[in-house]
């Protein structure tokens, strides 16, 4: 399968990338790691006139620490994120989730920013970004703006990134000392999540002091399981208490039905996977 023809631009700076976008018509696609875009182009689900490749924009790569945040450049690959001790220590849920993305070859090429802008609800990066209350830095012709994760994911394959704009960084608040776990349910190990749950919790004296839970593929965007979070906080980190709290995991969700399972099955999975994720995150 061969993509339809397109013009190719490979800028080497963010300024040049924004200029290339501004200079393009409507039918332009931004190429990050290409692990979702290239299959789409090959299957001709999309046929852009122009592709702007960010692969040579070095300033969009890398992980830095800034005050209470960890800043992940949008073009940082999954493999680079997995190698980061800073992310593992202060935003462990991201490490746990990214370990479950596809396979090693795809993790060498795929980027955190590319996955977020692609915004596939079955992708594994959205739920942790939402649960960790990250902020997304978007840069466009008018400059830079920052949106909270709750406003970033708008619908199926739709984000707050507008025409002519690029996601340039992800700012993740430190969750130092929190436990975390990403529980992914799949038929085939390297495939998309049927449902997955990311949980990060802070346990104090056997009680859950804080809890954040993100759901993958339980609606058209990643979702927070707020009802479970509320039920967990202040309660003991025990099997029974967590099981009871996680019964609310599907509240407010609208999961799809497909060959892998209907929406009722996914609602059930959300409760089971939430319990497993929270217990593992709490070290129970």
């Amino acid at each position: 399968m061969i993509p339809a023809p397109f013009d190719y631009v490979a800028p080497t700076s963010l300024a040049d990338a924004l200029a290339a976008l501004a200079d393009s018509g409507d039918e332009v696609k931004v190429l990050a790691g290409g692990q979702s875009l290239l299959p789409i182009l090959r299957m001709r689900l999309n046929a852009p006139d122009r592709v702007v490749d960010l692969g040579r924009v070095e300033e969009l790569r890398g992980i830095t620490e800034e005050g209470d945040s960890i800043v992940i450049g949008a073009m940082t690959t999954y493999a680079e994120l997995l190698a980061s001790d800073v992310v593992r220590e202060h935003a462990g849920l991201l490490t746990k989730a990214v370990q479950e993305v596809a396979d090693p070859q795809i993790r060498h090429r795929g980027t955190v920013g590319g996955a977020l802008v692609h915004a596939d609800p079955a992708g594994d990066v959205g739920a942790p970004v939402l649960a960790l209350e990250a902020e997304l830095v978007i840069t466009g012709p008018a400059g830079q703006r920052t949106v909270p994760a709750t406003e970033f994911f708008q619908d199926l394959f739709e984000t707050a990134v507008g025409e002519g704009e690029l996601l340039t960084a992800i700012r993740v608040p430190r969750h130092t000392g929190w436990g975390s776990h990403y529980e992914k349910f799949v038929r085939v190990v390297h495939q998309w999540s049927i449902v997955a749950v990311g949980a990060t919790v802070r346990v104090e004296n056997g009680l859950i002091a804080e809890a954040r839970i993100g759901l993958t593929n339980m609606g058209s965007t990643p979702l927070r399981a707020r009802a479970v979070e509320d039920a967990l906080v202040g309660g003991p980190a025990t099997q029974d208490s967590v099981r009871e709290a996680c019964a609310a995991a599907a509240e407010g969700t609208n999961p799809p039905s497909d060959l892998n399972g209907d929406s009722d099955y996914r609602r059930h999975l959300a409760t089971v996977l939430s319990r497993r994720a929270v217990l593992a995150a709490a070290g129970v």
Binding site: F6, Y8, P39, L41, V51, D53, D103, R109, V189
Partner: protein, 172 residues
């Protein structure tokens, strides 16, 4: 057309390519390096795995223009002076292939697995190969070949007794 300059198996090439040309097509059709095969053409099977700057990638999911200025190693570039690469030799000795179609990608990914982790457990090997499918289902001997190269092969009796499933968690 876009001009690219790429090193493949130690040899520099300069070519004019269409931006939509996939790296695997460039390798096979322009350079004649047909050792790298196309399996599923959908980023699933890993048969087309090559190394880009020393890391494994699926060459059906990389554009040739993205390889501009970079270094590609294919299955054709890993033998040295007529001697098979140790991973090729181990695949031969352990009979780690049946029809052989997945083999080029399996070997390139197996080398990547050991580059990242020279002494993996059996589970780590299986997870490292999760993006490579063998339709003959001959995974058992493939894992043994990787263990042989890692110098971490389990005793033969134990290996036979191990369940040959992805869930097997026997420490090598």
């Amino acid at each position: 057309m876009t001009r690219i300059s790429v090193t493949v198996d130690g040899v520099g090439y300069q070519d004019e390519v269409e931006p939509r040309l996939l790296l695997v097509q460039y390798l096979r059709e322009q350079l004649g390096k047909t050792g790298t095969v196309v399996g599923c053409d959908t980023s699933n099977c890993g048969a087309c795995t090559v190394h880009l700057d020393g890391h494994s990638v699926k060459s059906c999911t990389v554009l040739a223009v993205q390889a501009d200025g970079h270094d590609v190693t294919t299955i054709e570039g890993i033998a040295r002076d007529g001697e098979l690469h140790p991973m090729q030799q181990a695949f031969h000795e352990c009979h780690a292939l049946q029809c052989g179609y997945c083999t080029p990608g399996m070997i390139m990914q197996a080398i990547d697995v050991l580059n990242d982790n020279p002494h993996p457990s059996e589970e780590e090997i299986r997870l490292g190969l999760e993006g490579n499918l063998c339709r003959c289902t001959g995974y058992h001997n493939i894992v043994k070949a990787v263990q042989q190269v890692a110098g971490a092969q389990a005793p033969a009796e134990a290996a036979v007794a191990m369940p040959a499933t992805a869930g097997a968690q026997v420490q090598a």
